[in-house]
Symmetry: C2
C-alpha cells in the first residue's frame, strides 16, 4: 500500500481534536500536520479522524446465529439452542460467519477485536483475508476430563504456533481456556505454564453469571477470581471477559495482578447476566476494554452502540448521571481496549500502527456540533463510518468496502445459516 494522506480532518488525538493532516506510510502513522501530499489522498471534509475501535471480546463464528434464539431463559438458550447448533459447526461455517462479522466490523469502524471460539482456523483465515487486526484464541473446554484436556491443549498450542504473528503481525494468538467452571484447576495451571513458555496471553471468561460464581463457591469455597489467584493463573497478560459478579476482594486481586477486563454491556443486559462493577474497576485503576460479545447475545458488532450502552447502563444502575462520562466510554473502546489486548493501537499518534477511521458527522442526527466527543458516544452509529484503515491498508473508503464483495458474503452467510439449521 502506498502512502496515504488524510487531509481536512478533525483528528482525535489524546490531547483532543486537531485540524491537521495525517500521513500513513506502510502500516505506521508517520506524521501529523507536516505533510500535504502522498500517493493516495483522502479528503476528510471536516469529518472526524479517530482511532479504529477495538472490540475486546467477541465470537465472530457466532455471527451466523444472529437472531436465531432470543429472549429465552439462559439454560434453555444454551442447552436447547446454542450448544446443539455449535456441535454441528464446521470450520467452513465459522469461516463464513467470521467473514460476515469482519464485513460488519469494517463497515462500523472496528479495526481490531479479541475472539475466542472453536474451529479457529476458519476464523484466522477470514481475519487474514479481511485486513482486520485479530487477537485470536481457541476456546478450550476440558470439564475435568484429562484426555479431553490433552486434546484441547494440543489444538490450542497448534493454533498459537500457526497463527501468532501472522499477516504482518495483524494476527496475534492467545490461549483460551473457556472459564473456571468449564476447566479444572489442574488444566488452568497447565495453560498458564504453556502461556508463559510461549510468551502469549490468555483470554478467559470470568464470573459472567451468578450461577457460575455460586458453582465455584460450592466446589472450591472461594470466588472464581480468588481461585485463579490461588492457582497463580492471573497476570497482566490475562484478558478476563465479563467480570460481572465481583466482590471488593476480587477487584483488589484483579488490580494486584494487573489483569485486564473486557466489559460487554449489551450482552450482559440481553442475557440478564447482571451489571459489572465498571466504575469500581475504574476507581481501582484496572484497565477495562469494551466488547460486543457474539451475535447470539447482542445481536450486532457495532462498537458505537456499545459505547452508548456502557455510558447509559452504569448511570442508571448507580442512579448517578456522572458515572462513565462520554470521554471514558470512548477510551474504553479505543486505548483501553488496545492495552487490554496488548496492541500498539487505539491512539492517533506518530509512530503508532495506522488503525484509523473517518466518521461522517455531516448528518442530521449529529447536528448541531456542540461537543464531538458526546456525539461519538451518544449519537453516532456504526453506519456513520465512511472510511476504515487498518495496518495502513484501506479496507473501506467513502462507504465502499474494498476487501470483500458484500453481496457475495451475505449470500454465503444466508446459505451457510440455512444449511446449518437443516442439519
Amino acid at each position: 500500500m502506498a502512502d496515504i494522506l488524510i487531509k481536512n480532518g478533525r483528528i482525535l488525538t489524546p490531547k483532543g481534536f486537531v485540524e491537521k493532516s495525517l500521513l500513513i506510510e506502510d502500516e505506521i502513522i508517520t506524521n501529523i500536520g507536516g505533510k500535504d501530499a502522498a500517493e493516495h489522498v483522502i479528503d476528510a471534509n471536516g469529518n472526524i479522524v479517530m482511532p479504529g475501535l477495538i472490540n475486546a471480546h467477541t465470537h465472530l463464528g457466532m455471527t451466523l446465529f444472529r437472531g436465531y434464539a432470543d429472549d429465552l431463559p439462559l439454560k434453555e438458550w444454551l442447552n436447547e439452542h446454542i450448544w446443539p447448533i455449535e456441535a454441528k459447526l464446521t470450520e467452513d461455517d465459522v469461516h463464513v460467519g467470521t467473514l460476515l462479522g469482519c464485513l460488519e466490523m469494517i463497515k462500523s469502524g472496528t479495526a481490531a477485536f479479541a475472539d475466542m471460539y472453536i474451529r479457529m482456523d476458519g476464523t484466522a483465515k477470514a481475519v487474514e483475508a479481511s485486513g482486520l487486526r485479530g487477537v485470536l484464541s481457541y476456546g478450550m473446554i476440558e470439564l475435568g476430563d484429562e484426555e479431553k484436556g490433552e486434546k484441547e491443549l494440543k489444538i490450542g498450542k497448534e493454533f498459537v504456533k500457526k497463527w501468532n504473528g501472522a499477516s504482518n503481525g495483524r494476527i496475534t494468538a492467545m490461549y483460551g481456556p473457556h472459564a473456571p467452571n468449564t476447566c479444572s484447576s489442574e488444566f488452568l495451571v497447565r495453560v498458564r505454564k504453556q502461556a508463559d513458555k510461549g510468551d502469549v496471553g490468555i483470554h478467559i471468561h470470568v464470573s459472567e453469571t451468578k450461577a457460575e460464581v455460586d458453582q465455584i463457591e460450592v466446589q472450591y469455597d472461594m470466588s472464581p477470581v480468588k481461585l485463579l489467584d490461588v492457582l497463580g493463573f492471573l497476570g497482566p497478560d490475562v484478558l478476563a471477559a465479563h467480570c460481572v459478579w465481583l466482590s471488593p476482594e476480587d477487584i483488589r486481586i484483579l488490580k494486584e495482578n494487573d489483569v485486564k477486563v473486557a466489559h460487554n454491556p449489551t450482552s450482559n443486559m440481553k442475557l440478564a447476566s447482571g451489571v459489572a462493577p465498571v466504575p469500581e474497576l475504574h476507581n481501582a485503576g484496572i484497565t477495562v476494554g469494551l466488547g460486543t460479545d457474539g451475535c447470539a447475545s447482542n445481536n450486532t458488532l457495532d462498537m458505537f452502540h456499545e459505547m452508548k450502552m456502557v455510558a447509559l447502563l452504569h448511570k442508571v444502575h448507580k442512579l448517578e448521571p456522572t458515572a462513565i462520562p462520554a470521554q471514558k466510554a470512548l477510551e474504553m473502546a479505543t486505548v483501553d481496549g488496545a492495552i487490554s489486548m496488548g496492541l500498539d493501537t487505539g491512539i492517533i499518534a506518530e509512530g503508532r500502527k495506522a488503525d484509523v477511521i473517518i466518521v461522517d458527522i455531516n448528518k442530521p442526527h449529529l447536528t448541531p456540533k456542540h461537543d464531538l466527543i458526546s456525539h461519538l458516544v451518544y449519537c453516532a452509529k456504526g453506519s456513520d463510518v465512511s472510511t476504515t484503515i487498518v495496518d495502513g491498508k484501506i479496507l473501506m473508503e467513502d462507504y465502499e468496502v474494498k476487501m470483500f464483495d458484500e453481496a457475495e458474503i451475505m449470500a454465503r452467510a444466508e446459505e451457510r445459516a440455512k444449511d446449518l439449521m437443516g442439519r
Copy 2:
C-alpha cells in the same frame, strides 16, 4: 398525492409477515394483496414494509441542545444549563430545532410523535411543513402562581384552538401541564376541566425522579399518581410520561383510570432517573408507548435504538432474559404508541391511515435472516430505513428526503445553535 403501490415487500401485519402488495389511496391503506398497479409504484425488493414508528414523548425544540450538556448531576444540568438556555429560546429557535428533529425522524422511520414544549407555534409550523404526524402540547408551568397560571392556560387554550386537527388532521393538540410538582392542584383541576370542555387529551410528566415523588409526598402526603387521582385528573385521555417511581397502588390507579404511559428508557438511563416498572405495567394491562424524550437527554430521536433499549434494560434490571421480548418492544413502538396518543396508526391494515416505512434488510448487520422481528429490535438502526410515508405522502424514498433540503436545515440548525449559545 397519487395512489401508491408498494410491491415485493414483506409486510408486517398484526398476524405476522405477508409477502403481498400494499395500496395507498389518499391518506389510507386501501388494499393489501389485491392490486398490482398504481400511479406511483415502489419496489420494496424483499425488504420489510411496516408501520411508521411512534415516538410517544419528546421535545423537538430541544434538538438544538444535542450534546450541549451531558454527564452532569441532574440539578446542575437543569439549573445551570437547560433552564438558562431555554429562557433565551425564541419561536424561531424552536422552529429550526423541530425541523432538524423532523428531518432526523423522517430519516429514521418515525411517522408520529407526541411533543410537549414551549414556543409551540414554532413546533407546529415545522410539523406542518415536515409531513409528519404530531400530537402537540404547550408545556404549562404554573408553580402555584395564579397570574402565571392564567397566562399559561391562555397560551395552552390558544394553541389547542389554533392547531387541533390542522394539516388534514396530521396535527392534533393536547393540554400539557408540565408535572404535578410544577403545577398546583388547583391549576391541574382547571386544566382537566378545560380538556373535558374541548375534548382534547392531556400530556403530563409523572413521577420521573425520586426527588419529585418525595417532594409531592412531603407536600401532599401521597404519591403524585394518587394526588392526580384524588383531583379527578386521570382518565383514558392522559398520556403520562416516565412513570419511573410507581408503587403497586399507583399502578392499580393508572389501570383503573386507563391512563396511558410513555416510557423513555434511554433518557431515564442517561439522566439516572431510574428504571420504570414496565413489566409490571404490562402485567396490569396498561398501554405503554415508547419515547426518546428530548435530544438533551438521549441524544438522538432513533426509535429503533429505543426498541433495543427497552428490550435490554428490563432484562438486566429483573435479571430475567424473557422480560420484554422483541415482539413486545416492537408493539410498544407502534400500536401501543398509537393507542397512547389517540392515533389510528401503528398497524398495517386496510382502512388505517397510511403511515408506512420500508426497512432495508439487505445489509451485513441484518444477515442471516433467522427472525425478522428480532432483527428489527436488536439489529436494525434508524439508518436502515429507506422510505417513509406519512398520511399517504412520501416523505423519503430510497433514502432521499423529499420534504426538505437536508443541507439547508443542518446549516440553519448550526447557525441557530451558535447564535443561541452566544446570547
